[in-house]
Each structure stands twice: as C-alpha cells, then as structure tokens.
C-alpha cells in the first residue's frame, strides 16, 4: 500500500498536510501521534471511507480490510449472525465455512450463539476484526484496536494480528500507546497536527529523539517521544 501527499481539509482546518508513506506485504506499520494528529482520518482515507482533498492512494490488487476504532457490528445479533451477515454481504461461496473459520481464528466458537452486546469489549473487538478479515484482505487497517482492552486481551489481540502479518497480510494500525507501537510495529509513522514527522523503525525513532531532544534521550521512550514532539513544535 502506498500513499502520496495526502491532504484532507475539514472546513478551514487541515487534518492531513501532504502525508506520504508505503507499507510492504507482511509489514506491521504503527501510526502514532497525539489526539487530533490525523491518525483516524489517514486510516479512513486508506480504507476508502472518505476521499482525500489531495494526493493519491495505491492499494494494489488485494482487498483492504478495515476495522474501525469503535466496533462496527450489530450488538443485538449473535456472534454467528454478525459474521454470517457480513460473509453473505461479501458474497462468500460458502458463508458458513467462512464463519467457522473466523470463529476458530477469534477463539469465540463456544460463544457463537451469544448476543454481542453481552460480550466483553475485548471479545467485541475480536469480532470487529474478524469481520474486517472476512474480505480476505491483503492490507488490514486497524484504528486503535487495543483501546479498552485489558492487558490479557491486548496480548491475545496482538498475537492474533501478528499471526496475520506472518501469513503475509500488511497491517497498518493506529495507536496512542508508544510502547505498544514499539513492541508490535515493524515501522512507525509519527503524525502530529496532520504532518508526518517521522517514518522508520523504532530504533531509528530513538535515534531521531536522541538527535532532536538529547536531554530526554536516556529517559523512558514515551517521555523521550513527547520531548521529541515538543522539539518539533507540537
């Protein structure tokens, strides 16, 4: 997936200011930045939910799966009914087989008949991701997937997502959590006020922090990152 010079405006406010980046197959790219940095806007443009005012996106031949920040599913339907509905809408030849596959992948087979509203936030997020995977995407976009999950649920989620990347799916996820980005992302795209400040690996980001904010270089990564943003005028 490749994005070139993406621009998005909401009235007078410029939410994205010429953001460019690329992600290869099997890569896990973390989009990080403070609130209002443009992370969700970037992902929604990559997903085709909304158009950009400038620039272009290349997605290659495969489908792009999208998992929004808030679970996009029907809470009054069961786990199985949700998966079945989206499998049918994706026009799968054997929707039942796809549902079984996703239930196995999410580990929710035993809870297939439960109403989604009664599941924990973590389990709802797993179904949310499973629905995003029903299109068998070559690129999966995850908008803050671990928000509201406890550490155990978060660990299971990342184990699941990392498994997808190992199988060749390009995963681009946004997060506030710098440690999570460092731990699971192969690459980091740092956004602030709609600008792409950095694009590289975690070690390269540490190096950039050391260069730009040497006084914070020896402190924990999050503090050093905040100092870096401050030095870059954000």
């Amino acid at each position: 997936m490749q994005a070139r010079e993406l621009v998005k405006r909401f009235g007078d406010r410029e939410a994205l200011k010429g953001v460019s980046f690329a992600a290869a197959a099997g890569e896990l790219v973390a989009v990080i930045g403070p609130n209002g940095a443009g992370k969700t806007t970037l992902l929604s443009i990559l997903a085709g939910i909304q158009g950009a005012d400038g620039g272009e996106v290349e997605t290659g031949d495969g489908a792009v799966g999208w998992v929004p920040q808030q679970a996009a599913l029907y809470r009054r339907l069961t786990v199985e009914e949700n998966l079945m509905l989206f499998a049918r809408l994706e026009k799968h030849e054997d929707p039942l087989a796809s549902v079984e596959e996703m239930l196995e992948l999410t580990g929710l087979g035993e809870r297939r008949g439960e109403i989604v509203a009664r599941l924990s936030g973590g389990n709802q997020q797993r179904i949310n991701i499973a629905i995003g995977l029903l299109s068998r995407p070559s690129v999966l976009l995850l908008d803050e997937p671990s928000v509201g999950l406890d550490p155990r649920q978060r660990a299971r989620l990342w184990e699941f997502v990392s498994g997808l990347a190992v199988r060749g799916t390009t995963v681009i996820f946004s997060t506030h959590d710098i440690q999570e980005a460092e731990r699971y992302g192969n690459r980091m795209l740092v956004l602030a006020d709609g600008e792409a400040l950095f694009d590289g690996s975690a070690s390269e980001l540490r190096e950039a922090v050391r260069t730009e904010a040497p006084e914070a270089a020896d402190r924990d990564f999050e503090t050093a990152f905040v100092a870096y943003l401050h030095h870059r005028g954000h």
Partner: protein
C-alpha cells in the same frame, strides 16, 4: 438486500418491547376504533329535579298530555339522575358526578299552558353546569340547548296551531271558551253577510257609503286572513333544511374512522421503524462498513423502505383483520387495500428514511419522528371551514408535503366504493416517496464522515 432485511427483522425480534408494541398497538387501536364505530355515543348524565306536580297536564291546542311525558322525553335524550332538591343537584354537578342539572320548576306546566291563552307567560327551566372544564361545559351546553330547542319547537308548533284556531275563529266565527264558559264570536265572514243584507235597506247617503266600506273591509279581511293560517304555522319552524351533497362524496363516518386508524398505524410503524433502523446503522457504526463496497447507500435506503412496507403492511392488515370483528369490511376490495397500504407505506417509509438520515441516534430520531408524524396526522384531520381560510391554506400545504393525508385518502378510497378516486392520492404518494428518497440520499452523505 435480502440479508440486510433479514438482519433488521432479527434485530426487531430481539427487541421484545418494540415487537410487542408493534403488535399490541394495532390491536389496541383496532379494538378502540371497533368499539367506537360499533356503539353509539354515550348519553350524558344529567341530574333532574322535577318540581312539577304529578297531576299537572300540558294542555295545548286541545290536547292534554301528562307532565310525566315531558320527563320521559328528556330522559330519552340524556341519562337522568333523579334528585330530590336543588342542593343535591348542585352537589352532583360540582362533584362531577353529572355533567349538568336540569330543574323543572313547579309552575312550568301552568306557564306552558298559558302560551295558548290570550295572556301567555314565560316558561323557564334552570340548568346548572360546572364550567371548571370549558370543553365539558361546551358539550353540556350544546346538549341542553339542543334539548330545549326540540322542546321549544314542539311547543311552537302547538302554539301555532292554537294561533291558527284563534284566527279561524275571527274569520269564520264560533265559540271562544272563557272561564269555563263560552263567548260566541260572530266572525268576519258572518259580519260581512249581515252588513251586505242591511246595506240595500239604507237610503243613499254618507251612511250607506260608510257601511259599504265596512262591508268591503270585512269581505277582504275574511278572504285574505285565510292565507295567514299557513303563515302562522310556518312561524314555528320558519327555516327548514334541505341538504344537497355537492363537491364529491364523503365516506361514512365508520369507514373514515377505520381509515384513520389504519393510516395512523401504518404511519407510526413505517416512519418510526425506518427512521430508527437507519439511525441504528449509524449508532452501531455499521454504515461506513456497509457502504465501503458491500452495499450502495441507495440499496441500503431501498432495504429500509422495503422493511417499512413489509412491517407496515403486516401490522396494518392485522389491525384491519381485528376490526372485522366489530365492523364488516369489503374484503373483495383487498387488491385496492394492498395498493393503498403498499404505496402509502413506501411514501411514509421514505419520509422515515429522510428523518433517520438526518439524526445520528435512535432515541433522537424516534422523538423527531413522533414530533413530525403526530402533529401532521392531527392537521390532516382538520376539516375545511373549521378554521380561517388563510390558516386552512397553510394546513393544506403542510399536509400535502407529508404522506399522511394522501395515504388516508388512498386507504379511505380503497376501503369502500364511492369514496372518491384512489388514483390521485396514489400518484401524490408516489411523488412524495421519490422526493423523500432523494432527500434521504442527500442526508445519508452525513453518515460517511468518520
């Protein structure tokens, strides 16, 4: 589209309160309308204090009626609650036990009887009403006035007959009963004959000329006063009403009531369900996921309108089926019912979709749908002539812009033959359906914002 429809029906099934309301509401409406159209209006409860002596007789134009007849006639029109005193009557009115109290004074019959004499009195009855509720007071006032108007008309007819008899006596002569005896009245015609007989015996001169003038007057008066009899009779009811129906036929009240109930049911089900269902897509964050290539927004809109039509049709037909317990319906016109309900449902559902697309939360959109549907439904029932011309023109424009009134007209036409053409309201509904669908599509663009 069918999978989305199935999903919406599954969600509906999972909402017990909503499902119960959808079934209970039409059943309740059906029962209420059924009872209302199959039973006449209840008689108002009125306290009656009758102080007229039991042996008093109403005597008019030679007929004597026991005063009990007066009471019986009153109690045929209202539900009489007999009381023993004025205080008791007043208490019952104040407590709301009765709508009003009617007091017939002791001298009522004597004064009624005096109306046919040469020294008529003024009969009076007393009515006590509780004016704390202006609506109720107005209804009671109308009932009592109607009752008294009937009594006055009956008396006026009798008095007119009595007046006619007096006039006849003046013209033709006869006995006038006075104080148990009788006085012979010569009459104009007999007077003229006598004068004519005397006139030749008189010598020519001023006296003969004067007598001739008097004779001529007596003849003219006798002949011309004859036509005054019918005039006096007309005084009792000078204006009679001849009702001629022009400008289209109006449906029987019972059919109209059923059509109103059916349209209300269809409107609430279609508008609320579609508006809520569309808003739910937003509330569940599913809209962007669906319209990312799985379904187009037009197809989603079509599915919602179809949902409104299907559920609206089922619920409205249930209601009509329930009504057949109370009122016979013309089931052989089922095809026309179907056309009216489907096209009306489509138009109402499209209006619901436009509302649903304008709001982001199910609760907000439900409230909005109620706030729009209920007043428009009430305005659609305002008949012409009951409000000022300017205001009625405004009402006509408002009700023409929402599908309730054309749906009501279509269902009224479909229910029974002779209730006007169904084509015009169906065309009106179709135009509104397209217009609201276009508005809904425009409003749906709001949903694409993340």
């Amino acid at each position: 589209m069918r999978w989305l429809l199935l999903k919406d029906l599954q969600i509906l099934r999972r909402s017990p309160l909503q499902a119960v309301l959808l079934v209970a509401y039409p059943v309740l409406i059906a029962v209420l309308v059924g009872l209302a159209v199959s039973r006449g209006p209840e008689k108002p409860r009125v306290a009656l204090l009758n102080e007229v002596p039991a042996n008093a007789r109403v005597s008019l134009s030679g007929k004597k009626l026991p005063s009990a007849n007066v009471q019986r006639r009153i109690c045929a029109k209202v539900e009489c609650v007999h009381v023993g005193s004025r205080e008791e009557a007043q208490d019952k009115v104040e407590s709301g036990d009765v709508l009003a109290a009617l007091i017939l004074p002791e001298d009522l019959v004597n004064k009624i009887n005096s109306l046919s004499t040469l020294s008529p009195g003024t009969p009076k009855v007393e009515v006590l009403v509780n004016e704390s509720d202006p609506l109720k007071a107005s209804v009671v006032g109308d009932k009592i006035e109607a009752l008294l108007a009937q009594a006055n008309l009956a008396l006026a007819k009798r008095i007119a007959v009595e007046g006619g008899r007096y006039l006849n006596l003046v013209i033709r002569g006869g006995n006038l009963p006075v104080l148990g005896g009788g006085v012979h009245v010569l009459g104009l015609q007999a007077s003229a004959h006598i004068l004519e007989a005397i006139e030749p015996a008189l010598p020519n001169g001023p006296l003969k000329v004067a007598l001739s003038q008097v004779t001529e007057f007596a003849n003219q008066a006798g002949e011309n006063l004859d036509i005054a009899g019918p005039l006096i009779n007309r005084l009792a009811q000078p204006i009679t009403v001849e009702k001629v129906a022009v400008g289209g036929s109006s449906p029987p009240l019972e059919t109209f009531a059923i059509a109103v109930a059916a349209t209300l049911t269809l409107a609430f089900v279609a508008v609320l369900l579609v508006a809520g269902s569309l808003a739910l897509e937003r509330e569940e964050n599913a809209f962007p996921r669906l319209t990312r290539g799985l379904v187009s927004s037009a197809a989603l809109l079509g599915e919602k309108v179809l949902l409104g039509i299907v559920v609206g049709l089922v619920v409205t037909m249930l209601m009509l089926a329930g009504l057949t317990i109370f009122v016979p319906l013309e089931w052989d016109r089922f095809g026309l019912w179907l056309a009216a309900i489907v096209v009306g449902g489509a138009s109402l559902a499209a209006a619901g979709a436009a509302l649903g697309a304008a709001a982001r939360e199910v609760r907000a959109v439900s409230l909005l749908a109620f706030m729009v549907t209920l007043p428009v439904a009430f305005l659609s029932l305002v008949p012409s002539g009951t409000v000022g011309t300017g205001l009625y023109d405004v009402i006509k424009v408002i009700t023409a812009l929402f599908p309730f009134k054309p749906a009501l007209e279509a269902i009224t036409s479909a229910l029974e033959a002779g209730n006007g053409s169904i084509g015009t309201p169906l065309l009106h509904l179709a135009i509104l359906a397209f217009a609201y669908a276009a508005i809904a599509r425009l409003a749906l663009r709001r949903f694409t914002r993340v």
